[in-house]
């Protein structure tokens, strides 16, 4: 009896936590199409007006394209650097493993305020603040650990026998890598890239330091707007920003699904072959 009660209590608590996590975000969506200029609740009527207003103000579009550009470029750079590092971590030997790992994971731990200030001080010296390159470089630091984590997980799961078979059949190590290993970890690289993309797309604290009149990313522009006055266009832009993230996760989920299905197919063909 107490057991049933405990379970019920736990499930109720989890449901409340779930509501606490999800509801605030979901509330943005009805607010962004509500026909009330003061974001009152409950939402009244239905209008695309706030989205239309976004279209009229070119600075939103500018900030959004800047964000997309920075996020895409830093995702690409993260994938290249992160995949190479993952290969070294899983397959290679190198000295100072402990300290090196600490450096690689440090961007996950150091508070973004500190990263922002430090990079701002350094980039001022070399004129990289308010530039796409500057943004890409610092966002790559923040995104690259996720690529590493994902690709490492993929590499561990790669069946080394396939590689050996490929080498036995006469393929060199390089061609084996590109024909066997790389395709196997491609979904993990994609997932890592999307995580890096989201990290950059969302990132506001470091970006506040780096932004200026010449280059401002979307989160910084939203931040500035929220500080001045809360209006429905901010709800509209928030909805759009959320949709981008949801889209990324759909792709990641799809990739995982495809990977799992392929693995299952290989497994079943294995057993029939044996």
């Amino acid at each position: 009896m107490t057991r049933v009660l405990t379970r019920a209590g736990l499930i109720l608590l989890a449901a409340l936590i779930g509501a606490y996590i999800l509801l605030p975000i979901l509330i943005i969506l009805p607010m962004s199409v509500s026909d009330s200029a003061f974001l009152t609740f409950p939402p009244k009527g239905f209008t695309w007006q706030w989205f239309e207003e976004l279209k009229l103000d070119p600075t939103w579009l500018e900030a959004a394209t800047a964000s997309l550009r920075v996020a895409a470029l830093s995702a690409i750079l993260s994938v290249v650097l992160g995949t190479l590092a993952a290969l070294a971590l899983v397959r290679g030997r190198f000295p100072f493993r402990g300290p090196v790992l600490m450096v690689l994971l440090a961007p996950l731990i150091v508070p973004y305020v500190i990263v922002g200030l430090a990079v701002y001080i350094a980039f001022l010296e070399v004129g990289l603040t308010e530039t796409t390159l500057g943004f890409v470089l610092v966002h790559t630091c923040l995104g690259v650990p996720y690529v590493m984590i994902n690709v490492c997980a993929g590499l561990v799961a790669v069946d080394r026998r396939l590689e050996m078979a490929s080498m036995n059949l006469g393929a060199g190590p390089v061609s084996t890598f590109f024909r066997i290993t790389l395709p196997a970890i491609l979904p993990n690289m994609l997932a890592g890239a999307l995580f890096a993309f989201i990290t950059s797309w969302d990132e506001v604290v470091v970006a506040i330091f780096m932004s200026g009149p010449t280059l401002t990313t979307l989160p910084v522009k939203m931040w500035a707007g929220i500080r001045v006055q809360i209006d429905p266009t901010l709800a509209a832009i928030s909805s759009l920003a959320l949709l981008v993230i949801v889209g990324c996760f759909l792709i990641i989920g799809l990739g995982r699904l495809v990977q799992r299905l392929l693995a299952r197919r290989n497994l079943s063909s294995d057993s029939t072959g044996a």
């Binding site: 009152t40 650097l81 995580f195």
Partner: protein
Amino acid sequence: MSLAQTTGRGGAGRRSARPSRLRAYFTVDGWGLLILPLVVFLAVIFVVPLGMLIAKSFTDPTLGLDNYREIFAESLYLKILTNTFVIALSVTAVTLLLAYPYAYLMTIATPVWRTVLLLLVLVPFWTSVLVRSFALVLLLRDTGVLNTIAQDVGLISEPFPIMRTMKGVIFGMVQVALPFAVLPIYATMRNIDTRLTKAAQGLGDRPSGAFWRVFVPLSMPGVAAGLLLTFIQALGYYITPAMLGGPKNTMIGELIVQQVSTVLQFGFAAALAVLLLSTTFVLLAIASRFMNLERMLMGRS
């Protein structure tokens, strides 16, 4: 994730028990060289700026400890430091209270529900802090959703102030902090041998007794790690307290940004950052005694 087996001192490192242990340690093979691009990149873009920051805190505007002295001389700054600790502690306490039963539910749930619970708790980690804080403003302000509903159903007659109070800051920050507590606690709980609690019951203990006397103590390393990680994260928050808190709830992150953006006191801001950074690393060193941090961080996404 199984990554921990391959990093750290597993795999390659173990072979070095031969006479030339030192030489084995310094061995680099072809794969190992691939670590270089990222290490060089992070050294230049991440480590060097942190070094410059530390240097700046001792040299700008004058050489010496003036910036640090200023932090501890001014009562306003001391108050902000205390604030930061109080808020971070409260956030940690609330987060742990929610995270422990949540993580326990994850260990006893069916695989499908476990995945659902895991994905749910990761939502705050992957949705923009900014959008989430903005949503909370809409929810919590005097004319916001909660107050409107509560007034409509007659629960309260006047709007209940949550925005610009510490309650609001904590309400917003706990969301962001949840994954940092749930994940390490769950990771520890998952590895507790269920036969131990069964044995306790077999020896005559009640199920609740077995839970409190066997399961809870065994889960403590995870709780300790979760506590420290949550606290570390909470110390450095900027967006949530700046949006949901009032002038009385200023935290060190906001002070740092203020010092740079409004009064251009780089050296002083750098000193504050160094203070925060060193606190972070000390706490992290303590946390690593309780748990394999590398494994935990790696298992986070």
